[in-house]
Structures are given as C-alpha cells and as structure tokens.
Symmetry: C2
C-alpha cells in the first residue's frame, strides 16, 4: 500500500438490502428499525478521518435473539451487516463500504452477572467500560482495561483494545473469558465455559476477539475483574530525553516493579496540556506513573522508581495519593487528546498506533519525531511505554489535501518502521479499513491467506462487516 | 459419549505412507528417518492409559525446513503426520490412530534468542521448559509455566498447558507472543511480530495454541519471561475441610494477595507423600503455598495469608525461605504423583482434569470425592486451587476391566459434573482422543461445528494429527 491510498475508500459495489429484508426487519423491530438519513449517517462513521459511508438501515437490538434474527436474515439476502457500539473506533471499522444493515448494540447495556468469588462479570455487548465500573463501585472490584474513550465492552472485544493500564493488567485478550457470538448464519454460540482456563478445543474466544465483527457479532462477554488495590500513588516526572524516560520504564519492569500505568508525553504534548489545563509542567519528555497495591508495596515501588529515575537524570517527582489529588495530577494525561487538538483549533487528528518491542521503542520514537519535524506537521506524541505502543496525533486541516497527504506519509512510514523493528502497524486500534494494506507485509502473505481461509469458512457469503481486516 | 467408550480407540482405516513418500523422506533424512518397530512404538504412545498406536515411520527433524519438507510431502500423499515432543501428554494426543509419519521435534532444542529488555525468548519447539530455565539461570529472568513434566515448549503450546504457577503468572496462552508454524501445505508462517500486543488481524497465535497439532505444527515459539523475584517464601498449612482450604485461597485472591502457587493435597495424597518422602504431615486437606516479590511484599503477603487461614481453622504454618528449605518443604507436592502411584505398586493412574469456576470448586470436589468413595477406587486428589482445576489420580490395575470401567465411570461423571458447574472437561491436559466426546456438550454443537470448519479450512486433506480434538 502507498501512503496516497490510505484514506481513499476502495470502490466496491454496494449490496442494497432487498425490500423483502426491509419488510421483515420492520415487521419485527417497528421503530427500532430505521432508514432515516440522519440515523444512517450517524452510524456510517467513526472517529477516523474517513468520510462517512452510511448503511442503508439501522436496527437497534435489545437482545442476542434480535441480533441472530437480523444476521440470519441478512445472510439469506446476502446483505452486509455491521455491528455498532459507541462509534469510537479509529480506523474506519464502522463504515458501510458495501452498504447493508447496521446493528446498533448500544441499547444492549445490561449487566447480567457480577461474581466476586470468581472475579468475573458477564455483560451485554453494549455496556460501556464506565458503566461496568459504576456497577462495580461498591463491590471492591473493578474492570481495568481503559482505552480512553468510553467504549462498549463489545467494541473493545472487537478491536482487542488496550490502554493505559495494560502494562499492569493486560489488554482485552487477557480479560475475555467467554463470548456469546452470533455467527454468519444467525446461530447463537458461546465460545467457552466460565472456567478460568480450558484446553477444550480451538480457542474461539481469542479468534473472535480482535476480529472486528468480520467473523461473528459479539453480543455478550464474560470478563475478568480485579480487586481494587488498597493504595494508589500517582507521580509525574520529567527526563532530559525520551530515551531516558523509556529506559526508566524498562528498568522498572525488569526489576519487577508492577507499574499500574506508565505514560509518556513528549514536550509538545506537555506544551498543549499546560495551555489547556493551566498547568505549568516543565516542557520536557514526561512520565505519568501510577503505582498500586498495599500501602507498603506502593511506598516500596515508589522508592525504587525514584531511584531509577534519579539514575537517568529525572527531575523532581510530583506525587499524589488521595483520589482527588491523583485525579488532578493525571488530568493533563487524560486531557492530552483534547488539549492537543486545541494546539490548532479546527484541526482533526490522524492518530497513529505503532507498537514495537520495548527495547526498540526509544529508537523508533526518535526516528518518528524526526520524520514528523521534516514533514512540518504539528504532532504531539504520547505512548503506553510499558507496552511499546505510542500514538502520534497528526494535527491536520482535513480539507487541505497537501496536509492530508503529508500526514498519511508519516503514518505510512511509521507503520513500516514499526515492522522494521519487528513490531506491528496497530497495537490496539485495529485494522478497519486503514491498516488493511499492511497485513501482508506484517505477517507475510501465507499467514494472511490462513486468516482469509478462516474468514471464508466462517462467513461464506461475506456479509459480516465486509471489506475490512483481511477482505474475503 | 458413554464412559465405556472412553479408552477404546475408534476404528479408522490407517492411511499407510506410500513407498514414494518413504523413499523421499529416507533420501532427505537418512538415518534421521526410521521405520524400526521399537522407534515407532516409542512414538505411538503418551502418558495416557491408551494402548500404543505406532506411526509407520519417524522423522527426527532438526529445523523448521525439515518439518515443512515432511508435512508438504505428507500432504501430497494424503498421509497423516503427528508432531512429537517429550511424549508427556495425557489424553492420547500422540497415538497414530490412522498411521502415518511422526515428526520428532525433540532435537530442535536450540534457544534462538533471549532478550531481557523485552522480557522474551525465542526457542525451537523441542526446547524443554527446564532447558529454557537453565539457559536463563544467570539472566535474572525465568519462564514460569510449570506443568510438572519436563515437557517441550512446543508440546506445552500444543496443549495450552498450565500448572502450579498459573494462579500468579498465567498459562501458556498468557505467555505465547508469536509462533512459527508449518501449515498443512508445508508452508512456514509466523503468527505475529514481537510487539507485546497487536490488533493486526485474526489472532492465529492463540488459534494454534491448544490446537494439539491438528491445525499446524509449531516449530518455534517466542514466549514471555518474568524477572526472578527478590524473595520467595514457601508454606504448608492444613485445614479442617477441603472447603476451608479452598475458601482460604479464594479470600486471598479477592484481597489481591498475588499467590505464586496454591496447591491443594487431599488427605489421601498426604498419606501417600508421608509414606513416600518420610514426612509426617498431618493427614488433612493441606495447602502448599508460595509467595514471591520483594522481601517486604513476601512478609506482608504471608501475614495476610496467615490471618485468613487462622480465620478458617487452619493449622500451624510451616515456613521456608532459603532455596534448599523451600525445595524440601515442597518436595511432597512435587513428588505427589509418584508417591500416589506407590500407594498401589504396579498400578496406573487415570488422571482427570476438570476445571470449574473457583466459587464451585469446593462443591465439585466434595461430590467427586463422594463418587470416588462409592466406586471403591483409590484416588488421591490434588488441585491448582486458584485456577479451579484439580486432578484425581484414579489408581487402577489397567488389566482389570472392572477397575478400568469403574475409573472411566468416575472420569466421565466428573467431566459432566464440571460442565454442570459451567466448567470444562479439561483445564490443561487437552482433548486428545479421550475428551473428544465431551466437546459437543461443553460448547454446543454449533460451536464445535465452527471449530470443525476451521479444521477443514486449514487442513483440507485431514493430515494433521487426524482423528483428534474435533475430528474432521
């Protein structure tokens, strides 16, 4: 794939739902079936830079049976079907490039079970991560995966999402125990029982996780919970260079310090958050850290980290332990995306998602920042250092073709750079439309062909979110 | 499946390798190709109770290319091909029920890379877990998954193995970052890059993990490592009842105590190990525990655990912190299998592998022990409590059909009991031949049909370990 191809949508014939299908859906769903232009438009885009591609109709599902009914009917009519959660995906996942029916799962927001003895919860796909954590507020347990956006659990399963807590708790793959899935034929299957581990056959749970609605539609998920830590400490510290900051995190991990979060903000991001949040952080590569555990553990981890940082030229630590103070200290990180957009009012962010082995992170970051500077694009950089994953927010005027082209060039070179370091073009956002062209290079054509065989075996009529991930 | 069918091997026509295939293999491999009866017999069995089913020939591979050559040729000749590591599987995984070629990977024992900054290692499939840990001895890092047997990493990937440390560190699924796999067509693919996470397409890494050589043959694996903890403490403590012991572990996990190991031995197992190791442990439900971390953490965790145990009527703790003392304290657990066999010299153990949500573990255990007693079979029981996984060692005279039938009845009822508690018929041993009949009940026929579609898509000639897991 060339950079120029990045945000053009491939020309594929739309498969318009026949009247018989529309009639059958209207007959079952009544006003939960809509062909209204505004509703369809709203369901034809995500947070990516792609122009909207609306579906022909939207079904608002309330149950797994609603989804099964719709998918089964779409399969009979060879009509595309796309699942929609919070609409917060970033790579064009939700665009109805071949038309068809969008199934909005956001009303499937019931928490079906919370089992504190088993440290698990079962939720409908439309439950958001914040909704789940609110339901857990009094339980002493929480669900840690935090991609930033208040995404739905179903959407987070679909993209194998991760985020700021992954360094400690893992990503969605590490938290999904079992899924209820509607297959291309409209059958309802469950991928696993509730045992914490199993060797009973092929791991369909992980196959559907990260498949972006192209192999089946996830309607319920059983996820792992964690006990809320007794104590939490947050810290902010800056370093002379990005390499020093990255090394500090690597050393901490190597010493077994279980960092709860370790986020890097580059100087430009710090400038953005200072302007936005009224803070006066030193404009330098900065780590936002969090430690958790018992009070003793937190004290001990904090001391080890302070010593490591000191050895690498780190500045003075700012600490916070009380919830409100921690929240205030971390505000710049949490607001980094919106603060960055304010660096250039009216701009859009084309957000990259490279992830490399952590030993290569500093070098990959340095090359990337040099590339961004050479291209003359304003781009705050922030990263989940412990995972080797970082995002460049390429701030562009979406109506300026030169800027779009420059940004796509950076994005393209970064994807290829990540692969050169034996990393991936997407650490957590997924493939959608935008990264499809990299899979052959990342995995090799024989590997992608195996993926495509699976797609054809599970969705022989190519109705499930067609034209995404590996195509057909 | 009825219990009576359990250890009978289905009658399937053998697919004898044609002479042209034999000639081609001999021509490439010379004395690394063997049709000798003793060699074939040795490769036609595992640690299960099944009678041997030897392959027609054995290839001793030294490289991924050797494997690819062999599989590609077998595919052309529609000849079964079975990968062999240490031979320590427990459910008939390795039996050549349709004849064919066994590929012995045990000579592929090279450690290809150790990367301490990335906390990962890449090994050939024939490296054993002990071999990997010996190579890591001076590095400050270790590979934690410990299924008991000194299995090969390839075999552990194939069965999604786990073991005593899974409660803290996770199982093989949590440790496999990337695999090199030979496909049914003899192509060499790599399932992922070395980034610690990725959302780039379908997760083939997890699909091949636990597929028991039926979808491809794993020849290399990149696995996660962990820093060696600064301090380790081992403890042994008994409880009035199994329920109390299980509750102690559940409470510890709920409080966030990161138990490194938590193994339950029932009174009969304690009796066996006392006799075998000359110990004088109280004959009662007993937990073997391990804590690790910094010295402060270990002290703190130990104190919390002691308090929990005290509240549940636990006896006095025996503690050990020095390596030799810890090793001595844990010897009864490590020798439990062999000690149990000595309860009845000359017997074989039919070993069960149920795994249930931990909230159901005590009840499932109680029903199982009652069933064992009613059947009059001698059967020590030990469990990985934190995972909800336990093993009954059904000690039988393999030549006594009544005993075999009684043991298979217990095993059968236990598998179904585990499913009744929303658990699995196999937590870590895998399906092999022995658990095939339970998959429909555990997952539902529509789920198993999805698995079978994947099998047919990836291995259209059904040459890869045919007649195992989901069949064809």
């Amino acid at each position: 794939m060339s950079a120029a191809q990045a945000h053009s949508i491939p020309e594929i014939a739309r498969r318009v739902p026949p009247q018989a299908l529309r009639d059958a859906l209207y007959s079952r769903f009544g006003d939960r079936f809509s062909t209204g232009a505004a509703i369809c438009l709203q369901h034809g885009r995500d947070e990516s830079a792609y122009p909207a591609q609306p579906p022909d109709a939207v079904v608002f599902a309330l149950s797994t049976e609603d989804v099964a009914f719709t998918v089964g009917l779409c399969n009979q009519h060879r009509t595309p079907v796309i699942a929609f959660g919070a609409g917060s995906s970033l790579e064009g996942h939700l665009l109805a490039v071949q038309g068809g029916i969008c199934i909005d799962l956001s009303r499937m927001d019931e928490i079906l079970a919370i089992r504190t003895e088993d440290l698990s919860a079962t939720v409908q796909a439309g439950v958001t991560r914040e909704g789940l954590n609110q339901a857990l507020a009094q339980s002493g347990f929480f669900f840690p995966v935090d991609p930033g956006a208040n995404a739905t659990i179903g959407g987070m399963v679909a993209t194998a999402a991760s985020g700021t807590t992954t360094v400690r708790y893992g990503n969605m793959r590490d938290h999904v125990q079992s899924l209820t899935v509607v297959t291309a034929e409209g059958k309802i299957i469950r991928t696993a029982r509730r045992a914490r581990k199993s060797s009973a056959g092929y791991c369909l749970t992980q196959l559907f996780t990260g498949s972006e609605g192209t192999l089946g539609i996830v309607t319920e998920a059983t996820v792992k919970l964690h006990p809320r830590p007794e104590a939490v400490a947050a810290a902010v510290v800056n370093f002379p260079t990005v390499t020093d900051a990255v090394q500090a995190v690597i050393q901490a991990i190597q010493m077994g310090v279980p960092l709860a979060r370790a986020e890097l903000l580059d100087p430009l991001t710090i400038r953005a958050v200072n302007a936005h949040s009224g803070t006066s952080l030193t404009v330098a590569p900065t780590l936002f850290l969090e430690f958790c555990g018992s009070s003793t553990q937190v004290t001990e981890q904090s001391a080890v980290m302070a010593e490591i940082a000191d050895g690498l030229g780190g500045g003075a630590f700012q600490w916070a332990t009380l919830p409100e103070e921690r929240s205030r200290l971390w505000t710049p990180r949490h607001k980094a995306y919106f603060a960055s957009l304010q660096l250039r009012p009216g701009c859009r962010s084309l957000t990259t998602d490279a992830c490399v082995p952590i030993s290569a992170l500093a070098e990959c970051l340095a090359e990337t920042v040099a590339d961004i500077e050479a291209a003359g694009i304003l781009a705050p950089v922030l990263g989940h250092v412990g995972d080797g994953n970082f995002h460049c927010l390429l701030l562009i005027d979406i109506d300026n073709p030169d800027e779009v082209k420059a940004a796509e060039g950076i994005s393209h070179r970064l994807a290829r750079r990540a692969m050169r370091f034996d990393g991936t073009c997407t650490g957590e956002h997924g493939v959608g439309l935008h990264k499809m062209g990299y899979l052959d290079e990342e995995h090799g054509t024989d590997t992608v062909e195996i993926m495509r065989r699976i797609k054809r075996a599970l969705d022989p009529n190519n109705i499930l979110n067609p034209g995404k991930v590996v195509g057909f």
